[in-house]
């Protein structure tokens, strides 16, 4: 049980640190980092390489944005099994609908409540 948390920390942190290395070495924007990691996650999932990481590290592999890519790819593949070719189009977004809807609606809500502030440093 507690060993699982160590795995979560080690794997989750490692994925983030790879992002930080890219950020320092190539000076790319955060938007590009996110795109890159989603695509990598989807490809790893398609190759069957991401599931073992999820089993080993749980949230450590689900919380980083690569997990979002994994859900997109996994959703498409799962939906094809039940819906056939239609699943290619419905699967990805269905699997990630919760996350996207939450991100949109909470952003909407808090944008109505809060105002932006100047950065201090």
């Amino acid at each position: 049980m507690w060993l699982m948390y160590l795995n979560v920390f080690l794997v989750g942190g490692l994925i983030c640190m790879i992002g930080q290395i890219l950020l320092i070495k190539t000076n790319i924007t955060s938007s590009r980092i996110l795109v890159l990691f989603v695509v990598i996650g989807a490809i790893l999932e398609a190759l069957g390489l991401y599931e073992p990481i999820v089993n080993f590290a749980g949230a450590g592999a689900l919380v980083p944005i690569t997990g979002f890519g994994r859900s997109l790819a996994k959703g498409a593949v799962d939906a094809i099994k039940t819906q056939g070719f239609l699943g290619v189009f419905t699967g990805g977004l269905t699997a990630t609908a919760g996350g996207i809807a939450a991100a949109v609606i909470f952003a909407y809500l808090f944008a109505l409540i809060f105002n932006s502030r100047t950065k201090k440093y």
Binding site: N27, T29, S30, S116, T118, K119, K120, Y121
Partner: protein, 338 residues
């Protein structure tokens, strides 16, 4: 007949143009920096009581101009011409200020070089005998610039180590053909060329602008037949730490040695604890430092001859996204005190 032109890019005024009053206003962060004792007004709230950052920037420029005019014991009606510019699209901060003040207005855009540009153009107007009192002003706001050129303020990204911090601030100088004899005067000005050395990194403005500063500086020395040692202070606008090191190297490459009399407003603006990396940038950077610290030092007599060069990067977010390199420009004015 071209009597006042001097060399290729410079003009020398037959009667030195008087700077009868100056005013500077800055934000909180700048107010905690190295020049905190010199600024005329330091904001307590970065929005200056307005609802948006763009409105706050407008109010900064307006505040600087109104108080500058007041300090010169003039009324707004006495001002013949207002020369101003800023960094926002279509220079709205300046033109909306002109609308409010009901001023005769010529809008300038030289990005961060606007202070030197407006002083140079204004001095020509006054010395040419066209206008008596000319207001030169510019300003910038960190948050409005960040919104327009970079990312939303709340986005949790890291600024690269070569980046600079846009100064929240505005400065105003009033030029006049009239006025007391013992004031700071503009003797000459050098207009710059647009120089582009192919730098494409939008987070490294210092490197993009340093060649422009070098070009204008050399033009000024050649046109005026002077040397760097002739000036008590050679002050660039917002090259930042890296940019000023590049400029020193570039000048040395061209046979001029910039010594201890060389400084950069952006580099001096913040102290090391403020984590701005390369220092300040933006139109308000050179405007606020020139109109506070430099003018005060001239008035006190501790320096007598200043060459003020403000540099600007003439890019837009569209040009940067389309992969164009960043052109730079730099204008210079020589300010003296007898």
């Amino acid at each position: 007949m071209i009597a006042k032109k001097c060399g290729k890019q410079s003009v020398k005024f037959s009667t030195p143009v008087k700077i009868i009053s100056t005013y500077s206003i800055v934000g909180q962060k700048e107010g905690n920096g190295n020049f905190k004792d010199y600024f005329d007004y330091i904001l307590k709230d970065d929005k200056f009581g307005e609802d948006t950052f763009e409105h706050a920037e407008r109010k900064l420029i307006e505040h600087a101009i109104i108080h500058g005019i007041e300090r010169a014991h003039l009324n707004i009606q006495d001002i013949d011409l207002m020369l101003a510019g800023d960094l926002l699209n279509q220079i709205t901060s300046s033109s909306f200020t002109a609308r409010k003040l009901n001023a005769t207005f010529v809008g300038l855009y030289g990005a961060c070089s606007t202070m030197a540009e407006s002083l140079a153009v204004g001095a020509c107007m006054v010395d040419g005998g066209f206008f008596k009192n000319v207001v030169c002003a510019t300003g910038s706001h960190f948050s409005s610039a960040e919104r327009q050129y970079r990312f939303p303020l709340e986005l949790g990204n890291q600024r690269p180590p070569t980046s600079q911090w846009t100064v929240t601030g505005a400065g105003c100088a009033i030029l006049s053909a009239d006025g007391p004899n013992d004031c700071n005067k503009i003797y000459s000005a050098t207009f710059g060329k647009v120089v582009d050395y192919g730098v494409t990194d939008v987070n490294n403005m210092g490197a993009a602008m340093a060649p422009a500063a070098c070009s204008t500086l050399i033009a000024h020395f050649e046109d005026m037949h002077t040397k760097p040692e002739d000036y008590d202070l050679i002050l660039t606008g917002d090259l930042g730490k890296l940019g000023s090191e590049l400029l020193i190297d570039l000048m040395e490459h061209n046979g001029y040695k910039l010594g201890r009399n060389y400084s950069d407003c952006g580099q001096m603006m913040y102290n090391d604890n403020q984590k701005t990396f390369q220092g300040g940038s933006g139109a308000g950077c050179s405007a606020s430092v020139l109109n506070s610290y430099v003018m005060r030092k001239l008035s006190e007599g501790s320096i007598k001859r200043v060459l003020f060069l403000a540099t600007g990067a003439l890019l837009s977010s569209t040009s940067a996204q389309q992969g164009d390199s960043i052109p730079g420009i730099c204008h210079a004015v020589e300010i003296r005190r007898e």
